[in-house]
């Protein structure tokens, strides 16, 4: 497995509380991504990073923020969790864009907002 780990793997939280998910890589890859996976919607991009302190929004960024203060860590924060944010969250890393560049995925974090 590529050196990418997500923590926590499971979390249950209450509506209105802040939540932070962590993605850690040991591959020194430039690109890091956060997706959410929901039935019928597939994988939707929340935010991504193309370098330290360089981040941008994906298609479903509302209610989420990210930070990348060092190459190896990409944090996803739900400022005030809502039930609609109950999902499985996946982190991915990629060395670069362009031909033949595979993305590697973490094992996912199952988040339940009650």
């Amino acid at each position: 497995d590529a050196g990418i780990t997500q923590s926590p793997r499971h979390k249950v939280t209450e509506t209105g509380t802040p939540v932070t998910l962590r993605c850690h890589q040991t591959e020194n890859h430039r690109y890091m991504y956060w997706y959410r996976q929901d039935p019928g919607h597939g994988l939707r991009l929340i935010h991504y990073s193309y370098g330290v302190k360089d981040t941008d929004k994906g298609e479903v960024s509302d209610g989420y923020s990210v930070s990348r203060s060092k190459t190896e860590d990409f944090l996803l924060t739900l400022e005030s969790a809502t039930s609609s944010q109950t999902s499985v969250y996946f982190c991915a890393i990629r060395p670069r864009t362009g031909k033949n560049t595979e993305a590697f995925f973490g094992q996912g974090t199952r988040l339940t907002v009650v």
């Binding site: 019928g40 597939g42 991009l45 991504y48 193309y50 864009t97 362009g98 033949n100 993305a103």
Partner: protein, 107 residues
């Protein structure tokens, strides 16, 4: 804008039958397309990339620029092919996925 469309949410076939999972894309330039697979309770992993024109686990995918498609095919499905399949477009900084197709192969 970049977009990936997978029109089928579920595809059910019997073992030994041919399989075709459809993927259409929207991109103004020359696309870089991938197929990823997610087996039950496992992380997503790369299955195919169009640039290498390879066959993995009997699967192939051909880029058709005229039809803006990158369909995944296998002539004889196996039970172990049952999984979730995602088509992805990765030209720019973003890596965009389709909604996925669940393939069920019955014995």
């Amino acid at each position: 804008a970049q977009r990936v469309t997978q029109p089928e949410k579920l595809l059910s076939v019997f073992k030994g039958a041919p399989v075709e999972l459809k993927c259409n894309y929207s991109y103004s330039g020359s696309p870089e397309l991938f197929w990823y697979v997610q087996y039950s309770r496992q992380r997503l992993q790369l299955l195919l990339r169009h640039i290498s024109r390879e066959s993995i686990k009997g699967f192939t995918a051909d880029l058709n620029k005229g039809e803006t498609s990158f369909h995944l095919k296998k002539p004889f499905a196996q039970e172990e092919d049952s999984a979730m399949y995602y088509c992805a477009l990765g030209n720019t900084d973003k890596l965009i996925f389709g909604t996925g197709t669940r393939l069920q192969v019955f014995p």
